[in-house]
């Protein structure tokens, strides 16, 4: 958009698009974001439709078809106890997407407000929140998740809570740092100068301006969370066997990489595509939400 010097000419400009349509116009123009949207939609659809898709029972074993390569009967092959990999992938999509999305949602919804609070109020609030965050960060992500999951008890929902809490410190730190940097902007001072309340200032001036990096971090963390769920499943703390998840499939498959590579290949590709989809979608959302044109 070029700068316009004469108000007379501006009146003749076409009325600018309203916010909603402006967002969709920009989003649709971004092919990568559309691809991300398609990928995510596809896997979400598979997860939701798994019960009605013509899939064989994902827990049914067939001792006559152990570690069979892909064939018409088993398009993605079978695993070490003769279960259909395709069917387990379809059903596993549920657990994996839930683990990825719900745990990141927990981390964002708890971490971002805490980080903003620390950055906005500073002083003692910041000191307490920051020290607790550092204590959490001192333990490696996965160890922390395993400890929490063991404490909460083995189930998929507890695993998601454990992963969410373990991923939370990153979001506290990110939100705090972003808040501190946005707070130095003149427009925050201008919001104070007009007498805006703290709540409105945080909601309308700080939150919208710290969202882009948080969006990017969230899409990256979804990948970490899916893998973490796999590790927890492997330890018996996540999705309970014999119910499938991509992570647990991958974990078992690594023992048979040479004899039955298809066991690892398909869950691996699925995780890759989901993560790619969320990343592209996140980037696209970030750009589409930015009022500036690029």
């Amino acid at each position: 958009m070029s700068t316009i010097a004469d108000p007379q000419t501006q009146i003749t400009d076409p009325a600018p698009a309203r916010r909603g349509s402006r967002f969709w116009t920009k989003f649709r123009a971004n092919r990568a974001a559309l691809l991300g949207g398609v990928l995510v939609t596809f896997f979400v659809a598979v997860a939701l439709l798994a019960p009605v898709l013509p899939l064989v029972d994902p827990t049914a074993t067939d001792w006559l078809a152990v570690r069979k390569p892909p064939s018409p009967a088993h398009p993605f092959g079978t695993d070490e106890i003769g279960r259909d990999v395709l069917s387990r992938m379809g059903w596993g999509a549920q657990a994996s997407l839930l683990a990825g999305v719900v745990s990141v949602a927990i981390a964002v919804l708890l971490g971002v407000p805490l980080g903003m609070l620390a950055g906005y109020l500073r002083g003692w609030t910041d000191a307490i929140i920051s020290r607790m965050t550092e204590a959490l960060l001192a333990a490696p992500f996965l160890i922390l998740a395993i400890a929490l999951a063991a404490f909460l008890g083995p189930s998929l929902s507890n695993a998601m809570i454990a992963i969410g809490l373990s991923a939370m410190p990153i979001f506290i730190r990110l939100a705090r740092a972003q808040t501190l940097s946005v707070m130095t902007e003149d427009y925050v001072e201008s919001a104070r100068a007009i007498g805006l309340r703290d709540g409105a200032l945080i909601w309308r001036y700080i939150l919208p301006n710290i969202i882009p990096p948080i969006l990017v971090q969230s899409t990256l963390t979804i990948a970490t969370a899916i893998i973490a769920e796999a590790s927890l499943s492997f330890l018996g703390l996540g999705q309970q066997p014999p119910a499938p998840s991509w992570g647990s499939m991958l974990n078992i498959a690594k023992n048979f990489l040479e004899q039955a590579p298809w066991m690892a290949l398909y869950p691996g590709i699925a995780i890759f595509l989901v993560v790619l989809g969320f990343n592209l979608l996140g980037d696209g959302l970030r750009d589409a939400l930015d009022p500036r044109d690029h």
């Binding site: 501006q10 009325a15 104070r192 100068a193 007009i194 007498g195 309340r197 301006n209």
Partner: protein, 365 residues
């Protein structure tokens, strides 16, 4: 009869720049004991070179930062010690225009939302009434109601500064403080924004405090001027008095630094050597003595207070031991005060304003 709208007494702001584990912290005295008395309806200018504490003073006057010491009275209320909620409510009468029009508008809000914000914050009017007010304000500053749906980045610097002005005007304030409101703008846009401010001031009966370093702009628009040096006021007086007969050597040096465009008009300049001293350890005595061509032994030890000077009733104040002995050079010729280019600029704008139907609708000259 004039009455005082804003009064500052003994205003001080220290910034701690370094706080060692042991020993005394390093303190910058950004504003050091400033007394001010702003009359309702006047335009009061505060000038000084960069780093002298002008912007800190401006923020202290509206309590965007808390003073270390001193009081600010706005309409007989001490705002420096007002509870947070009362202060917030008071802000509808006390607005601020920022220096940088590119960073002072939230990039994620539409222009309409930005101008509506003060109205929402103070619960003025319902949604429809606020929209109408936004449209009216946009018109007042020479934009159109259609601009309300756009984002700040779609506008030029001058237009953005006018959006900032509309935002400051929304709640119908009594006093507006402009922190270098035009210094970030192109010279060609400055006159236009200055004139919008003047028009609006006349129209709404505002009191304006303008922080600036451009003396041409100051002389054009202000009634009284305060000159600031290293956190202190060194001279306060009516604009014409101060420009024609400065009483502080620093003011003389500032005036001498105004470029003169006409050939042969160059006079012997009072030259200032060196930079502003470090405000962490300001010189003893008169803070200006290190650069003052008239400094005496007394200036090095004794700090001169701000005192009345000149003819009775003029309200001229100066902080200099030798104010009565010195005969300092002001700007004798009124036309030389403003560079030829500057006066051409103001004249052109005046002509455009005379011809235009409303105030401030023409942007091109």
């Amino acid at each position: 009869m004039t009455r005082t709208i804003l009064k500052a007494t003994g205003l001080r702001k220290d910034f701690v720049t370094q706080k060692p584990l042991f020993g005394a912290p390093t303190v910058v005295k950004a504003v050091n004991g400033v007394d001010l008395d702003i009359q309702a309806g006047e335009t009061f200018a505060i000038v000084g070179e960069s780093g002298c504490g002008k912007s800190t003073l401006a923020r202290l006057l509206v309590r965007l930062i808390e003073p270390t010491e001193g009081e600010v009275w706005f309409n007989d209320r001490d705002i420096a010690h007002l509870p947070a909620d009362d202060m917030r409510a008071l802000r509808k009468d006390l607005q601020f225009i920022f220096q940088d029009p590119f960073s002072s508008l939230n990039p994620r809000m539409t222009v309409g939302a930005l101008i509506e914000e003060p109205l929402r914050a103070h619960g003025q009017g319902d949604s429809a009434a606020r929209q109408a007010r936004v449209a009216e304000l946009l018109g007042r500053v020479g934009l159109t109601p259609a601009h309300a749906d756009r984002f700040p980045h779609e506008f030029s610097g001058g237009q953005r500064q006018r959006i900032g002005i509309a935002r400051a005007l929304a709640t119908g304030p009594k006093l507006i403080i402009g922190d270098e409101p035009v210094s970030a703008l192109d010279v060609s846009i400055q006159a236009q924004v200055v004139n919008i401010l003047e028009d609006l001031k006349a129209e709404f009966g505002l009191t304006l405090i303008v922080i600036a370093h451009d003396l041409a702009v100051i002389r054009h628009m202000s009634d009284r001027v305060a000159v600031m040096y290293l956190g202190e006021l060194v001279e306060v007086g009516r604009c014409e008095d101060l420009f024609s007969a400065p009483r502080h050597p620093y003011t003389e040096a500032l005036l001498a630094a105004i470029p003169i465009a006409s050939v042969g008009a160059r006079k012997a300049r009072t030259q200032l050597d060196g930079d502003l001293p470090n405000p962490i350890s300001p010189p003893p005595g008169c803070r200006f003595h290190t650069r003052c061509p008239y400094a005496s032994a007394r200036c090095k030890t004794e700090h001169p207070p701000l005192r009345a000077a000149g003819p009775q009733g003029a309200g001229h104040q100066v902080a200099c031991h030798h104010a009565d002995d010195l005969s300092l050079q002001g700007l004798q010729d009124a036309s030389a005060a403003r560079s030829a280019a500057a006066s051409a600029r103001f004249d052109l704008y005046r002509a455009a304003r005379g011809a235009a139907p409303g105030p401030a609708t023409s942007e091109t000259t």
